[in-house]
């Protein structure tokens, strides 16, 4: 089998990842980062309807009824003829049940022939939204810390802490890719974002562990006969088929979910599965091209320091 030299090319990989991160940062400034109302508070009500509805008229009817500025969008289900109207409140405050009732009554009265019905509604108090957001961030951070500790303990033989920290660097890389997908596709950050991040966290660290596991084993086998770079390169090559095959399998499943979500117009599932697809790809890449080579760089740096 052809062997790749991942360590020799590491500068190229670091550069590629640098570019991706730069794109993510630029995109967040240019396009802006949108928080879902789950996090920032606000209200969105979706109505199902039939026939045609003048969106501008809906907007003015709603604004008259509740005395607040709203934006109105519509969407259509590709698999059935169902159509949906989304009314979003411009401000971040929640809508009370009374207001929503007034709004629904106004819309149904203004369009009696369109069989308008509440499909889903969400109203979030801004305080509770930001609490939810902070809690989610803490959950992610806590998970990351516990994983570093676990990896450090299990991989003492190969310098546990550096392995743990490098694993986490690869993780942040993947999390950042997921984040960039949300920004580039203009999907607001919501609970799905947190779910994807945590899943990718699991997958990516799992990937990285498989390689560390191999390094640990090879170190036992070869001891000091190989230097760090050779050892790591061998281990990455040995476990590469596995990394690629596993990710391909999961990728199949997630792509199938994406297609079904697209056909059924299931936004909530789309915003889960699409970032997952990119996160999975990034997970394999970061494991092979970032976590291992970066760890080698650290170890070499340590050796140089010792020699000097």
């Amino acid at each position: 089998m052809k062997k790749f030299d991942f360590i020799k090319n590491r500068k190229i990989y670091f550069a590629i990842s640098g570019c991706i991160i730069l794109i993510g940062i630029l995109a967040s400034f240019v396009l802006g980062v949108e928080l879902d109302i789950q996090f920032k508070g606000g209200s969105i009500v979706t109505y199902s309807y039939v026939g045609d509805v003048d969106l501008e008229k809906v907007e003015s009817v709603v604004e008259d009824a509740i005395g607040a500025t709203v934006t109105v969008n519509n969407s259509e289900d590709l698999s059935s003829d169902a159509k949906y109207l989304m009314v979003t409140l411009a401000s971040d405050t929640g809508l009370s049940a009374d207001q929503q009732e007034a709004m629904t009554n106004a819309v149904t009265e203004a369009f009696p022939d369109n069989a308008i019905d509440v499909y889903s509604s969400q109203s979030v108090n801004p305080t509770m939204g930001s609490e939810f957001f902070v809690k989610s961030i803490i959950a992610v951070a806590l998970a990351a810390v516990l994983i570093i500790i676990y990896v450090a303990l299990r991989f003492k033989r190969i310098g546990g802490w550096s392995a743990g920290v490098m694993g986490i660097v690869a993780l942040f890389h993947d999390v950042f890719v997921v984040y960039t997908v949300f920004v580039l596709f203009r999907m607001p950050l919501d609970a799905n974002f947190i779910a994807v991040v945590l899943t990718i966290l699991g997958f990516s660290i799992n990937d990285t562990i498989v390689i560390y596991d191999r390094i640990r084993e090879n170190k036992k086998l070869f001891g000091n006969k190989m230097d760090v770079a050779q050892l790591t390169n061998l281990s990455i090559n040995q476990s590469m088929t596995r990394s690629v095959n596993t990710s391909l399998n999961t990728l199949f499943t997630m792509i199938i979910v994406c297609i079904i979500a697209l056909i059924g117009n299931l936004d909530s599932i789309m915003s889960f599965s699409l970032p997952m697809v990119f996160g999975l790809i990034s997970g394999v890449y970061s494991t092979i091209c970032i976590a291992g080579p970066l760890w080698v760089t650290w170890q070499e740096h340590k050796l140089k320091k010792k020699a000097a």
């Binding site: 994983i147 676990y150 095959n245 399998n249 199938i256």
Partner: protein, 461 residues
């Protein structure tokens, strides 16, 4: 000896197939019209409100009100009484005393075509109308009529407080303490209605109808009726609601139409099925015999995950399955695939070093295990944190992680909890099926002479 180990494959396969069949179809017998269920089937899965539709709402007192614990208990009992009054029994409710919040989740009523979530939320949060009425005359729908409808003795504002106590006979009673505005009225009524009934109502629901045994002149009465401590507490809370000085507000709620959720569920189930087929084909083509064994093992893993939420195992209580929960199952199948890929790759490698088939299989499972183990433990860490951060406040993990999340009240995003739960179950099932069961099967199936060519395991032809 050899014969015995060959049969292991069939025994394990049969067990997995039997588990799969009974998990999806259950075990029940039908004698005439009576159906007796021994084992619950997939049809018994309790779906979360994001799938079958429903309402998720957080009630709070108006801003600036600092409600006491007793007031919050009273407010919760108002909501509970009204939910039951609306025939909604399958609800979840919990109160966060620190932040003065009451989180309620209830599903769309079955057979309800024109459900109005706004109306339901409004009704639940409205100020409770507590009344003490003369007699207990009700119409066919249980609403007060005649003298009971006409003669209201006391209203909520006449009640100072209600609490649980014990009377002279050591019987549990509800103690009633009236405001001065109620004393006179109650004294008059109890004097006039001695030996008759005074019924207590919340809105149009009768919560108690005690008989008057003595005239109460000092405004402190007791209601006895062979209560248990819980019943007495519940009645006291209900009566206290009448004295609540505030109305509950809602700024935080979501409602989902059942059609939206059902579509999403069907899509996820379809995706899971197609995903499994794609993975099975890939595994068989790429890894041949170990791949075939992996496909059977994965079926067992997926099935066991479903069984763990449907209440199939008597020791695992049934669990509300949400969309992220289904995602968790699909994802754990991904981890399951990984375990099999790692082992199959290892077997291939060992064969290449010139080991015998049996030696390679043993070494493959042995050497692959540490990576699978470490990977699974990190997944368990993530699953437990999700369960702690997003679980109901009385759940075990939520309590265990209180030091980290103490400043937050219960969130309404319970759906993510389900993701953590199915991920955890999936990883545990992975140890059982992806590692143990598949090793038993592979070791046994490799004893068949026509399946002993190394090529079938990824070795040279």
């Amino acid at each position: 000896m050899k014969k015995k180990s060959k049969s292991v494959f069939f025994i394990v396969t049969f067990l997995i197939l039997a588990l799969t069949y009974t998990t999806f179809f259950g075990i029940s017998t039908t004698y005439g019209d009576i159906k007796k269920t021994y084992v619950k089937s997939a049809a018994d899965i309790r779906w979360g409100i994001d799938i079958r539709g429903g309402v998720d709402v957080t009630f709070t007192p108006p801003e600036g009100t600092d409600a006491t614990d007793t007031q919050m208990d009273a407010a919760q009992s108002v909501i509970e009484t009204r939910l039951v009054g609306q025939n909604i029994t399958d609800y979840e409710i919990y109160t966060d005393y620190k932040n003065d919040r009451i989180v309620v989740r209830f599903p769309w009523k079955e057979d309800e075509t024109d459900f109005n979530p706004e109306e339901a939320i409004k009704e639940l949060g409205a100020t409770a109308l507590l009344t003490f009425r003369e007699g207990y005359n009700v119409d066919s729908s249980g609403k007060p009529t005649g003298v009971t409808a006409e003669n209201v003795i006391l209203e909520g504002s006449d009640v100072k407080s209600a609490s649980v106590g014990v009377d002279n006979d050591n019987e549990i009673v509800v103690l009633l303490d009236l405001e001065s505005s109620g004393k006179e009225k109650f004294s008059e009524a109890t004097g006039r209605l001695k030996g008759q009934i005074i019924s207590i109502w919340m809105d149009d629901t009768c919560i108690s109808y005690p008989k008057v045994s003595n005239q109460i002149t000092d405004g402190s009465a007791s209601i006895s009726g062979g209560f248990t401590a819980d019943e007495a507490k519940s009645l006291a809370n209900q009566i206290n609601s009448g004295a609540l000085p505030f109305k509950l507000e809602t700024q935080n709620y979501s409602s989902i139409n059942p059609k939206l959720g059902t579509d999403a569920k069907d899509a996820m189930v379809l995706a899971g099925l197609l995903g499994y087929i794609a993975v099975a084909i890939f595994m068989v083509l790429y890894y041949r015999v170990p791949g075939f064994v992996a496909a059977i093992g994965l079926m067992g893993q997926a099935t066991a995950s479903v069984a763990a939420v449907s209440g199939y195992f008597p020791f695992v209580p049934s669990f509300t399955l949400t969309l992220p929960g289904i995602a968790g199952i699909i994802l754990s199948i991904g981890f399951g695939v990984d375990a099999n890929v790692i082992t199959s790759e290892r077997i291939k490698e060992e064969l290449k070093t010139g080991k015998t088939l049996d030696g390679s299989i043993s070494a493959g499972y042995e050497r692959g295990f540490s990576a699978i183990f470490d990977g699974n433990v990190t997944s368990i860490i993530i699953a437990l944190i999700l369960m702690g951060a997003y679980g109901a406040p009385d759940s075990f993990m939520a309590k265990a992680l209180t030091p980290f999340f103490f400043m937050f009240g219960p969130t309404t995003a319970g759906a993510i909890y389900s993701f953590g739960y199915t991920l955890l179950i999936g990883v545990i099932c992975n140890f059982i099926f992806g590692v143990t069961a598949s090793r038993l099967m592979l070791k046994s199936i490799s004893k068949f002479s026509f399946l002993r060519k190394p090529w079938l395991y990824g070795g040279a032809k």
